[in-house]
């Protein structure tokens, strides 16, 4: 008791001090790998070995500019962008239409069908990756963007439909009834009332789907087999294979391929955090 008072009198708050120390430890734990990666890309291979932690003595901008000027880098980003964007668009269209039905139209078997869709939350695509491969092959979509996009859309439907349905249900029911009495069709109501009112949840679902698709590895790995189609996660694996021990180049390449994710994160923090954690709140 006495010592406690003495400390607070001397202005030393041990609890706050330990807290700050703890936070500092975690900051170092999280940031060191990231900072070392970005800086490592600016070093020569020799310096990477002698000076792994510090700032580069000689800034090797060439590591980065060579990659930025290469066709390969932009091709990877382009492939990823095409796959992710189409995945998001298709998911939003099909999921919001289905969610609209589940939210507003009662029909025989609705609960059963909703449970059927909810099943999709329970297992990852990996469980069925071989039959999925054979199906995509039989459909002639192997080595085609669609062979990646369609399975990704299908596996994001369950979560998307449930999130959208929850939001649609909260829109006032009287709105729909009034519109229907006035002769508005379901289609027009969906198009002109539901969708515009649902921008926040559409943004959330779109962001989750985009991040998952942008980072995805297994499905593209199994479905694609020509360089010109690969999304960036496959691209950096191949790059690492080619340059195996030239870590300075690999680090520069990783940094540049992560750049879009980080920019997206800085601009859409709120949606990303809300999206990825709200997906978590009771499927």
């Amino acid at each position: 008791m006495k010592t406690e008072e003495a400390f607070s009198e001397s202005g030393l708050d041990w609890a706050a001090f330990l807290k700050a120390l703890y936070l500092l430890g975690v900051v170092l734990f999280v940031a060191t790998p990231l900072v070392a990666t970005v800086l490592g890309g600016f070093k020569s291979l020799g310096e990477l070995r002698t000076n792994p932690f510090g700032l580069p003595q000689v800034w090797e901008w060439k590591n980065y500019t060579d990659i930025l000027l290469s066709r390969r880098y932009w091709q990877l980003l382009q492939n990823s962008l095409i796959i992710s964007t189409l995945t998001v668009i298709l998911t939003l269209i099909t999921a919001s239409m289905a969610a609209f039905v589940f939210a507003h139209i009662s029909f025989f078997g609705r609960t059963m069908m909703l449970n059927y869709i909810t099943m999709g939350l329970l297992f990852p695509a990996a469980t069925a990756i071989l039959p999925l491969f054979i199906k995509v092959r039989d459909l002639g979509l192997l080595d085609h963007y669609l062979g990646v996009i369609l399975p990704q859309v299908a596996f994001s439907l369950a979560m998307s439909i449930l999130l959208l349905r929850r939001f649609f249900k909260e829109l006032p029911e009287e709105l729909l009834e009034a519109a229907l009495v006035d002769g508005c069709s379901y289609l027009n109501f969906f198009r002109y009332v539901t969708l515009p009112l649902s921008r926040p949840i559409l943004a959330t679902v779109g962001t989750i789907t985009f991040v998952h698709s942008w980072n995805a590895y297994l499905v593209p790995l199994v479905m694609l087999n020509s360089d010109s189609q690969y999304p960036w996660p496959m691209g950096i694996m191949i790059y690492q294979g080619e340059f195996s021990a030239e870590w300075h180049l690999i680090l520069a390449f990783i940094t540049l391929t992560l750049l879009p994710t980080i920019i997206l994160f800085l601009f859409a923090q709120k949606h990303i955090v809300a999206g990825l954690t709200s997906g978590a709140v009771k499927g």
Binding site: A95, A98, F100, T127, F133, K135, A158, W214, N215, T261
Partner: protein, 295 residues
């Protein structure tokens, strides 16, 4: 079966027939059917070409369970769950308790800690394979500083899993922290305030009010840690590919390595079915036993 009651029921039917089929079709063809097909293929010895003819019954399942690497993979999945519970969860919870309050820099720290979660697992794995690199890596540099021989963590069956576990904590604790922060911020402050007025100490408030109020979130966090472990694949590939000596496989990387890479469709499908059964059994029993109160 639509009961015509109101004049606009015809519109209802056409909306139903227009809106539902696209999602339903995609979901059925690419999610549900493949699971059924996995069950069917798992009865065959089949390399994927032509149609499956060589029916071998339950043999593929016997091969899977007899495979030592599968046992290791299963144990590794359990190990990941244990570490998630013993290391990641306390880390995430303690940080959330500190960072849920608004002080200068709190938001920035939250964002920093969350960031690893949105970086692709492949990139994360590559970054850490640099850090663990015996010649150029940060870890090696620290050892060299003390004139010690740097260990090749990823190259030894004894340490490969340990190295992976560290990466898992690094990548995922921020996500769990955010779950807790969201819960803490949605919490009713009056209870805490009332307890404080009644003279409860900080520790008592934490132990008897805040933590119990967080139980639903803790259960959810555990749920995600377990599901995440069962799905883990991307991170394994750049770090170890399941090696050395199959010491660091998860069930999914085992499936990829022994099923997909070798095009043993029957065998790989059997692994997939086992994984499916584990996931579904777990999800149902967890919901039933632990999350009954909040539906």
């Amino acid at each position: 079966m639509i009961m015509p009651r109101k004049p606009y029921d015809a519109g209802k039917l056409s909306a139903l027939l227009l809106f539902l089929p696209p999602a339903l079709l995609l979901f059925t063809v690419f999610v549900v059917m493949p699971i059924g097909e996995a069950a069917w293929y798992s009865g065959f010895n089949w390399n994927g070409f032509g149609s499956p003819k060589n029916w071998i019954g339950w043999d593929n399942y016997r091969f899977v369970f007899d495979n030592k690497a599968f046992g290791t993979a299963f144990k590794n999945n359990l190990l990941i769950i244990v570490v998630s519970l013993l290391v990641q969860l306390p880390l995430a919870l303690s940080l959330a308790l500190i960072l849920a309050r608004a002080f200068k820099g709190a938001v920035m720290l939250r964002m920093l800690f969350f960031m690893p979660y949105i970086l692709a697992e492949i990139a994360t794995g590559l970054i850490f394979s640099f850090i663990y690199d015996g010649d150029y890596g940060l870890l090696a540099a620290i050892y060299r500083h003390f004139d010690a021989q740097a260990p090749h963590l990823l190259a030894s069956p004894d340490t490969s899993m340990l190295a992976i576990l560290l990466v898992i904590v690094w990548k995922y604790f921020g996500f769990h922290m955010m779950l807790f922060i969201a819960a803490l911020q949605g919490m009713d402050k009056n209870l805490v305030e009332a307890a404080r007025v009644d003279g409860a100490s900080r520790w008592q408030i934490l132990r008897h009010i805040i933590i119990p109020l967080l139980y639903p979130t803790i259960k959810l966090s555990i749920f995600f840690a377990i599901i995440g472990s069962l799905q883990l694949f991307d991170l394994i590939m750049p770090l170890t590919r399941g090696g050395p000596a199959d010491s660091s496989h998860t069930m999914v990387s085992f499936l990829y390595n022994f099923g997909v890479m070798r095009m043993r469709v029957g065998f790989g499908s059997a692994v997939g079915v086992i994984l499916f059964v584990v996931c579904v059994t777990f999800a149902f029993s967890y919901k039933k036993w632990f999350m009954r109160d909040e539906d």
